[in-house]
Symmetry: C2
DNA sequence: GTCTATAAAGGGATAGAC
DNA sequence: GTCTATCCCTTTATAGAC
């Protein structure tokens, strides 16, 4: 059994996801990726035809990691109110504890081309968003479920998205970074909606 | 009176803002900026010491364009509810009609260093955010005004931020891109908060 | 599967003429 | 204030040995 380092595609992708998430596609060089993996840049081309392909696969892996959460957020049988509460907490936790995922998503929405966005909408978020819209409809039948779903996402995602500057804004407290505190705030803001 | 083209710093900055906003700092080259302005790249260095400085000044100009809105959003004397309604509509209109400003802001929050973020928080948004927090406090005295302000911003900004993918999500309608429709939705969502 | 070496292109920036 | 010409560096990507 040889001890030669046999890097797999997945090894590379796992090391690469945080780099793309933190710095963005352009600021990450093939050399930098290679260094993080522990090989030379040229060797990357044995696994991927080019940088774009590497990026796309990293993206797919980062997103597939969370398919479970999205599928399972709606299985539990409970009142709409309890389900919404649970969903918000789950979202807060996800977004708060996996910044890589959130940042990749944000970068894609900003800079992704139409084809990739359509793919994301159809195959990554489609079902999740549909379930969410149904939940919103049962919570607030007089409101546009699409707009409501966006609002819920916005309340959660934007809060953590602007964490870097939130710290400097008047009234900041440490507890504002806590998933549970934020989730409770957002839920209390939505539950009175009629 | 000579007809020689005498490009001013401001001319350059105005042409540059949309480029940085759309593509981001790295994807915009000095040659590309020069072409947009109508001069050669070397000439840019007569006006700015380097690319960073050009970017910072473009940023400042893009943000100063909206200082007025932020200062004036709270002058009118009316009930808190009417003031909130007006603020939300103003924000929606601003974010919807000047995508450059929103995108630059978003990019800064993602990739800006601590020093620049502190500057933004102190000198661009500080007073605005403080006024907003007071308004939130008078609307919902039992809620954390900092969290409430972030929530209002998130409801507005996130909605337009994800416009590129919103189009592909179930339930999308053209009216969801209309400032007034969105503002009304957000206000109706907040006005019942106790 | 990984390496060294290198090609080819594009980037930021400077020098000096006009 | 703008130009041409050029330097120097980094980047992506390929070729071919091991």
């Amino acid at each position: 059994m040889s001890k030669t380092k046999q890097t797999t595609k997945t090894d590379i992708l796992k090391r690469t996801i945080p780099l793309f998430a933190q710095y963005g596609y352009d600021k990450v060089s093939m050399r930098q990726i290679a260094e993080a993996v522990g090989i030379k840049a040229a060797s990357l081309y044995h696994h991927f035809p080019d940088k774009q392909a590497l990026y796309i696969e990293a993206l797919s892996l980062a997103f597939s990691n969370h398919a479970d959460f999205m599928d399972e957020s709606f299985v539990l049988q409970a009142s709409p109110e309890r389900r919404l509460r649970q969903l918000i907490l789950g979202l807060c936790t996800l977004v708060n504890e996996d910044p890589d995922f959130s940042r990749l998503m944000q970068r894609e929405i900003m800079d992704g081309d139409e084809k990739r966005l359509q793919f994301l909408a159809d195959h990554v978020f489609g079902d999740f968003f549909r379930d969410m819209s149904e939940l919103c409809l049962s919570m607030a039948p007089d409101k546009d479920p699409h707009l409501m779903s966006i609002s819920v996402l916005g309340l959660v995602i934007y809060h953590f998205q602007i964490s870097p500057i939130r710290f400097f804004l008047p009234g900041f407290q440490d507890s504002h970074n806590d998933s549970q505190v934020v989730a409770e705030h957002i839920f209390s803001l939505l539950k009175n909606t009629h």
